[in-house]
């Protein structure tokens, strides 16, 4: 059973008058298994707070209810993995594979995120206030990602769909073998990967960028960004492209 540390004696399935009831799980006293089973059994409207996370792996994974989870501290690998509904906030840093394969909902990291953030995400919004490591948005399939700082090399590798917004700089081989995802970078790009090119920033892009920045709670000027996407030269095997990789 989940150890309820505070506030006790609150019915977790009935929102309080001034907001949702909050269940607090202290991972010094409870296990990740107990945490995840609890949130898998949760119902819409609940709020959960995780204390003493200690960088544990696989916290708050597989959420299917419209709940709010706050992890007070650092998370290890795969925090909020395969997220489907509701909001997860991590007040510290997040390890490898943050919100991997997110389908919907929102995941917000107030610190930095390690490599493969939002990897293969199909939908939803992932906000990283700090920096993200290598392979941010690798193989993304519809997720929106907003990074306040820089991102590492090979980010948006084979990115299929969705939007990646970088308010800082991007590392080497950005968007290598990209399909139809859109990338917006405010700072510098160390290098572009195969078949990734700069594209014009038109009105529709400014509009969606404005919307994404606002959703992430940022005040950056959309006009300061550049847009990158696929040249679509490598969509079919052709001998003349063999040196492009």
């Amino acid at each position: 059973m989940v150890t309820l540390t505070a506030p006790e004696n609150i019915a977790t399935d009935v929102p309080a008058a001034d907001g949702p009831a909050t269940t607090t799980v202290d991972l010094d006293a409870s296990t990740v298994r107990e945490l995840n089973q609890g949130i898998h059994d949760a119902v819409d409207g609940q709020a959960w707070t995780v204390t003493n996370p200690g960088g544990k792996h696989s916290m708050a994974v597989g959420i299917t209810a419209d709940i709010k989870v706050t992890i007070e501290g650092h998370a290890g690998y795969y925090a909020a993995g395969m997220h489907q509904k509701g909001d997860v906030t991590i007040t510290g840093n997040a390890g490898v594979g943050l919100a991997e394969n997110i389908m919907s909902g929102r995941v917000h990291v107030k610190g930095d995120a390690s490599q493969s953030a939002a990897a293969t995400g199909h939908g939803g919004l992932v906000v990283i206030d700090g920096n993200a490591g290598a392979r941010c948005g690798i193989s993304m399939k519809g997720v929106d990602i907003v990074v306040g700082g820089n991102i590492g090399h090979m980010s948006a590798f084979m990115a299929q769909a969705g939007r990646l917004v970088v308010c800082g700089d991007a590392g080497d081989a950005l968007g290598d073998s990209i399909y139809e995802a859109r990338i917006y970078v405010k700072g510098t790009v160390a290098s572009l990967g195969a078949d990734c090119v700069e594209k014009p920033l038109q009105a529709e892009h400014l509009a969606e960028l404005t919307e994404l920045l606002a959703a992430a709670g940022r005040t950056d000027n959309p006009a300061d960004f550049k847009r990158y996407g696929s040249a679509r030269n490598l969509y079919h095997f052709h001998v003349d492209n063999s040196t492009s990789y």
């Binding site: 792996h57 597989g62 690998y77 590798f157 073998s177 079919h236």
Partner: protein
């Protein structure tokens, strides 16, 4: 690959009369490969598995009962065939009635009717079928009593709802036809439905990643398996599938990472589309892979606790029995299952010929023009395959495989297929003896042992 290379100017019956000598190094298929490469500038891509001759189950024989071993009555005494897969950590392991399972093959590579037929046939005999790249279709989930959900590097169509619907999860690191290689699905087969499931533009040549996007190596894999267990509340068995290259180490590392089941796919294992040079030159034969995997399991004290599924060139009940005698808990079939559905059927001889191939040779699964309606997304071709009838053929074949294996097991005095053991086997060749680690027939010699 087509066989249009047979030279018309030198009919086979005249070769000897003309005194022509074919080069063993540059045989006609090799010459055709060079000519094709020179003409197109692109490597040959085809389906099927390795076609070269390698040491295989054919090179092993069972000893059968004798004075020191008592046989079971062939038609009267019980010889069980069931197998439990995934009871190491999962609370809902699979309990199959036959150890012959259906290997992962994608919707995309195969038509929806073919996937449905695989599910029907497998379910009829109480075994499992497996998804592939691109996700789970309602057709196969609906018709598969036991469905294994592949978790692949591409994560095309990866959906946590489907993950929770699965009866087991198979984390795919590699495939026997192409260890170290990613998948591909050429544009002819990327229809609107396939593209939609994979979030790709219609008609492009899809290339799948060869590495998982969010983990690298066994330490990461252990954490990844932990995540999958958490998401499925520790109910669902987790397999780890490896392409046979270094099966001793890979099996040990899969066990260390927490796998419930290890799947080892030898180089004869099929593919829907891969470079021919990859298929024929990377990986090791199934026969060589099994003893290495079993050794790893035994040394870790988990043989029969972490189950071993072997695939790659399983065709007969004898192959099933031999794989199990070498230590496998179950086997998986792919190419043979497609043949049972109707692949390479001689009744389509004229159409195979029109494609530059022939019944028995057709391997252009990447091309999407399969006359049998199996490896295609063309609606007209796909409609040729009746999923009910094809499923029935597969069920028949699975029953034959099982009965054949039972026949051999009873002859060896075994009341369960799992009681078959290496001591029941001998090898016909030195190579097979060394790989399978059973004595050369008529001797007590195992090359390399001791």
């Amino acid at each position: 690959m087509t066989i249009t290379s047979v030279p018309q100017q030198a009919p086979t019956q005249n070769i000897a009369e003309l005194g022509l000598r074919e080069s063993a190094t540059f045989d006609r298929a090799t010459i055709a490969d060079i000519q094709r490469a020179a003409a197109t500038g692109v490597y040959d891509i085809r389906g099927w598995g390795a076609k070269r001759k390698v040491p295989h189950f054919d090179d092993l024989l069972f000893l059968g009962a004798s004075m020191s071993r008592y046989p079971l009555e062939g038609y009267r005494e019980k010889c069980d065939t069931d197998v439990v897969l995934g009871d190491r950590h999962a609370s809902r392991p699979l309990h199959l009635q036959t150890p012959v399972t259906i290997a992962g093959m994608s919707f995309g590579a195969l038509s929806a009717n073919a996937k449905e037929a695989l599910g029907r046939g497998a379910s009829e005999v109480g075994t499992s079928t497996t998804t592939g790249d691109g996700g789970m279709t309602p057709e196969e989930r609906g018709q598969s009593k036991h469905l294994v959900y592949q978790y692949l590097p591409s994560r095309y169509g990866m959906n946590p709802d489907d993950l929770r619907k699965a009866d087991a999860i198979e984390i795919v690191l590699g495939q026997g036809a192409k260890p170290g290689g990613g998948g591909m699905l050429l544009g002819q087969k990327i229809t609107e439905r396939v593209a939609g499931m994979r979030t790709l533009p219609v008609g492009i040549d899809q290339r799948s990643a060869s590495r998982h996007p969010d983990w690298t190596g066994p330490d990461d894999l252990e954490i990844k398996i932990g995540e999958l267990r958490e998401i499925t509340d520790w109910k669902t068995p987790i397999y780890v599938k490896i392409g046979a290259s270094r099966p001793y180490y890979d099996t040990a590392l899969a066990v260390k990472s927490g796998a419930d089941v290890v799947v080892v796919d030898g180089m004869q294992g099929g593919t829907a589309a891969t470079q021919q040079v990859f298929i024929e030159n990377v990986g090791i034969p199934t026969l060589a892979a099994i003893p290495q995997a079993v050794q790893a399991l035994q040394e870790l004290g988990v043989h029969r606790k972490v189950q071993l599924i072997v695939s790659g060139g399983i065709r007969t009940g004898a192959d099933v029995a031999k794989a199990m005698a070498l230590g496998a808990d179950a086997v998986a079939i792919g190419t043979a299952a497609l043949i049972a559905l109707g692949d390479n059927d001689p009744r389509y001889a004229a159409e195979y010929s029109a494609l530059g191939s022939a019944a028995g040779f057709y391997d252009d699964f990447q091309d999407g023009r399969d006359p049998a309606g199996i490896t295609t997304q063309d609606p007209e071709l796909a409609s040729r395959l009746d999923p009910v009838a094809a499923g029935r053929r597969l069920a028949n074949y699975l029953r034959v495989l099982t009965m054949e294996a039972q026949t051999i097991a009873r002859a060896c005095g075994k009341s369960h297929l799992h009681n078959l053991e290496p001591e029941d086997l001998v090898a016909l060749t030195i190579e097979a003896s060394a790989m399978a680690r059973v004595p050369l027939a008529g001797t007590s010699w195992i090359p390399g042992a001791g």
